[in-house]
């Protein structure tokens, strides 16, 4: 079974790359889809490579800050909702509202108030907040009933219960949320850059569009996808390790 589950995706990869190259060469989709080789040659060109690296660092930085801020806030509010159940209904509603805030509306406001530099991080934190709030809440509630009862018979206080039982049991769910949040943070950061950030992958996307530098545009998309996949992969490994540890 194992070789097949590795071989088929590999085949799929090769088919995808091959199709891209052929479609691009044939010009079937015009200038919009250049051949894969053309796109990859962007990475070989020193100035453009440097641009991509610089921009990636900036975007990654904003995304990471937004991610950290959103995750901490989301988890903290979830813990609050868990400890003070009367608040939970309202906090759930609030989380939904925050998540539904249209970025295009937040953008201009944040530019003025938070500044051009911080807007990407701020926009990255919003979806992360929501995802971590939901997954932390789910995780905290997912404690096995039997273990819960056992803690009661041991005379455990609320704080001890939270620290020793619930937060550990919540870990798989939290990591699952963190996994999904990685992609959202990237999107938030990139869209945030569109409102006037000095550098970043979002800016490169916009500029390459305006200057018809299509291979550069695709190269940027590849970089974005690669970063998202890499963070997703790392967090998946962390999630698996946590699940194994918890049993």
């Amino acid at each position: 079974m194992k070789p097949r589950s590795f071989f088929y995706p590999l085949l799929g990869c090769l088919l995808l790359l091959g199709a891209w190259e052929l479609l691009g060469r044939s010009g079937a989709l015009g200038k919009t889809l250049p051949a894969l080789s053309q796109v990859l040659s962007v990475f070989l060109d020193a100035p453009r490579r440097a641009l991509l690296l610089r921009s990636a660092a900036a975007t990654l930085g904003s995304a990471a800050i937004g991610y950290a801020a959103g995750a901490c806030a989301g988890a903290a509010v979830a813990v609050l909702a868990h400890l003070v159940p009367i608040l939970r209904g309202g906090l759930d509603r609030m989380a939904v509202l925050v998540n539904a805030l249209p970025v295009i509306a937040l953008g201009p406001i944040l530019i003025i108030t938070a500044g051009r530099e911080d807007t990407p991080a701020a926009l990255a934190s919003v979806p992360v907040f929501f995802l971590l709030y939901i997954s932390t809440g789910l995780g905290l509630r997912a404690t096995s009933h039997r273990l819960d009862l056992m803690f009661t018979t041991l005379g455990a206080g609320r704080w001890q219960r939270l620290m020793k039982l619930e937060s550990v049991a919540a870990l798989p769910s939290i990591l699952s949320g963190m996994k999904i949040a990685a992609g959202s943070a990237m999107i938030g950061a990139i869209v945030g850059e569109w409102f006037g950030a000095p550098t970043g992958l979002g800016i490169v996307v916009l500029n390459s569009m305006e200057n018809f530098q299509i291979p550069l545009l695709w190269a940027t998309v590849i970089v974005i996808a690669a970063i998202t996949l890499a963070s997703y992969g790392l967090l998946t490994l962390a999630e698996r390790a946590a699940r194994r540890r918890i049993g």
Partner: protein, 244 residues
């Protein structure tokens, strides 16, 4: 009564907003009070109605297309392990590229019109639908595949009578996830391409410094998004309790 009480955070946020406007002293081309926004919404509903319907139509349309595409591909993957394997890289690539970055590319291919907006929403809703439906089709009651084998059920019958009904909870979850973001993606597409709807209304009124209307459009979009989320979440709950 309980539900109304839960609305306290909205009131809190509105209060904070009002406070911010009152104390920060920004000019009205930067920020307006909630009062100004609501008054514009109430006095000129006509200006908002058509754009709101436009956005809703495209959001729901894209949602339907994306959900259907995800379900169909999940079923195809269920039938053929080969297909499941070779489509994985493509699905993975699609999921890790933000839809909003793809909008410019899709626009070049399909034109700066409504079609692209629909495709953008569909692409965004496709991936959760595909992943969740594929998982749901495999989440079968213990030993039931063996029962179906003994009964000599064909692949199609097994899909129709066992796998598809079993996948319904995950399908409902995918609908909820898709609904949450469909309005927002439609909004971004409308903003970028000026194809109508609340996103375009926002872009245009921002340029005219008519901030109250711009924020009104955003609030309306937000309301649509929340309503869709609540509806699909309620649906998901019903399905889950039915299945228990």
């Amino acid at each position: 009564m309980r539900r109304l009480v839960d609305l306290w955070p909205i009131l809190l946020l509105l209060l904070l907003w009002q406070l911010w406007v009152s104390t920060a002293g920004y000019s009205s081309i930067v920020l307006v009070s909630p009062g100004a926004v609501f008054s514009d919404l109430l006095r000129f509903p006509g200006a908002y109605l058509l754009p709101a319907l436009h956005t809703l139509a495209f959001a729901l349309g894209g949602l339907a297309v994306g959900m259907a595409a995800g379900l169909i591909l999940a079923i195809a993957a269920w039938f053929s392990e080969f297909l499941a394997g070779i489509t994985t890289p493509f699905a993975l690539l699609l999921s890790s590229t933000p839809v909003v970055c793809l909008i410019p590319i899709v626009a070049r291919l399909f034109g700066y019109e409504g079609r692209t907006e629909l495709i953008a929403v569909a692409v965004m809703t496709f991936f959760p639908s595909f992943v969740l439906c594929a998982a749901g089709l495999k989440d079968l009651p213990a030993m039931s595949p063996d029962v179906f084998k003994v009964l000599r059920a064909t692949r199609w019958l097994t899909l129709r009578l066992l796998a598809l009904p079993a996948a319904l909870p995950q399908l409902a979850a995918a609908l909820r996830v898709g609904a949450t973001y469909s309005v927002l993606v439609a909004l971004v597409a409308e903003y970028l391409m000026q194809t109508g709807g609340l996103g375009t209304l926002f872009a245009v009124t921002m340029q005219q410094f008519h901030l109250a209307r711009a924020l009104g459009a955003s609030l309306l979009a937000m309301a649509l998004s929340v309503i869709l989320y609540e509806l699909t979440r309620a649906l998901e709950q019903r399905v889950i309790t039915y299945y228990r």
